[in-house]
Symmetry: C2
Subunit: 298 residues, 2 copies
């Protein structure tokens, strides 16, 4: 039985897993994101025994971005212009591929999470387009269309959508260093911490912050629905797990769309249209494993 | 030489053409959209000689929506819930196919326009994803991904994106009967007429309406860029033809994006990234012909 490696590369931590599916993970390790040299060294050390034993067939990398995903580019596989200190212009793909010496798949963390939720969950297979949105410290959107992650010019950056911002109700200017009050600027975990002076985890039920959060997320999802006409949306990330939030978002989507799109999925079955991740917090890692599997099994 | 028919079905007029490409159009006719029975009769009369002579190989329909594009649906080919009086639940595809008795392709007016601009213009062929946005009486967005028009759950409805609306600067509530101040509500030709009491055609250069219009269109295009990561965007429709508007939109897109997406197309070559339609006001009709051609030539 061949094994696949999954690497979830985040701005605060890296997660490495090895196995061949959600029900067969042999080992998992998490470590903080320090310097590229030290962090990548830990990654390659994690996989070394499986490389040595020749059990490792391929590796998938699900990385924070922006990334260069153009296979014809001289900087394919690089993290490009991240504000994360020390990580700009880092050849993440090349450094890891050189050490594991097996085929390596490379995509954004959110595209990988979307791919994983679709690949491993049978009822998601026919849901195309398929979206995964993560609302954590930042916000990102992964997109699968015709069975493949969407790249295009670079890759989707729908965490930065421009949204209605009622300055009287919410005078907070937003935290996005590029756009101020874009989606991520207004609705990320970081924006909640800065706006309310406490982390989203500690913000109690009934705090007006949750009502505001569900408004912004509903506007964002309405825009994603109008743009992609998706068949299913997964709402993941730490902030989305707050009890009641996903229900409030579903309710406000219906309110904002006002029956404009006449689909039973929106009018009657929105609970089955916008869902939490079936793979919990492993969508990204298991998506990386799915990408690795697809690389060698097809 | 086989001929193809193209039908552009709009809320105010229908356009029928026959030919086999931008340089070989044999006949074109325009007539106002009245009742479905009368209008569809005129369409079938237009094509009758070519059906009789057996020259007509296929027909494409580029229609105002919303449409049922699901081939497995019992109402495939219908205009569904349009506010256009008398045109809800009209079997446009079936009525026409029954009369012309050749293969008929069916899609939204904007998907067809996008397909036409990509199909007939060689330098657009490799531009994927490829978007066509029309700003006329209403606003619509057509999307080609992996060479095919995007449908998904229904079809994109990105004319109804939620956008930043500064009520102090622009107290106009918008004209969209469903959403009020969505993109179409704030930036369509109809919204301009209602806001300023004069049609966009008569609104002079330098009128503050044009500055506002370019703001809304730039926000919309930024959202489309972040969502689809397109390789090219065509900005069509009557309102977009106002001198200087496309330049102002390009300029504000750069300003709003603030160098966030590090692509030469956005940073240096935006004049070659956001373009007027190469097919002028025939993108939809020639797109319908392209859809018809693809139906029988592939």
């Amino acid at each position: 039985m061949k094994l696949f490696g999954g690497i979830e590369s985040g701005g605060t931590k890296f997660v490495c897993i090895v196995g061949n599916g959600p029900d067969n993970l042999l080992k998992e390790e998490r470590f903080p994101t320090t310097t590229p040299r030290e962090t990548i060294h830990k990654v390659t050390e994690f996989f070394r025994p499986y490389v040595k034993s020749r059990e490792l067939a391929a590796v998938g990398i699900a990385s924070f971005g922006p990334l260069d995903l153009n296979p014809d580019s001289p900087t394919y596989g690089y993290i490009t212009t991240t504000p994360k200190a020390g990580w700009s212009q880092i050849d993440l793909y090349g450094e890891i591929q050189g050490k594991v010496d097996v085929p390596v798949a490379f995509d954004t963390d959110v595209n990988a999470a979307a791919f994983g939720e679709q690949y491993w969950i049978p009822e998601n297979r026919s849901m195309d387009p398929f979206l995964y949105i993560t609302v954590g410290t930042g916000i990102g959107v992964g997109v699968i269309i015709n069975g493949s992650p969407l790249h295009g010019l670079i890759h989707p950056e729908a965490g930065h959508l421009a949204l209605p911002h009622n300055w009287q109700r919410d005078p907070f200017p937003g935290v996005c260093p590029y756009h101020g009050d874009c989606l991520e600027g207004l609705a990320s975990g970081l924006s909640m911490s800065k706006r309310w002076g406490q982390s989203p985890e500690s913000l109690p039920d009934g705090h007006p912050g949750w009502d505001l959060e569900s408004d912004y997320l509903a506007f964002a999802l309405v825009n994603l629905i109008y743009a992609y006409s998706p068949r299913r949306i997964i709402l993941g990330g730490g902030v989305s797990q707050h009890p009641g939030l996903i229900g409030a978002v579903r309710c406000k989507i219906k309110q904002f769309m006002n029956d404009y799109m006449q689909s039973p999925m929106l009018l009657e079955k929105i609970d089955d249209y916008i869902l939490p991740p079936a793979l919990g917090n492993r969508s990204g890692g298991l998506g990386a494993i799915a990408m690795a599997a697809r690389l060698v099994l097809t």
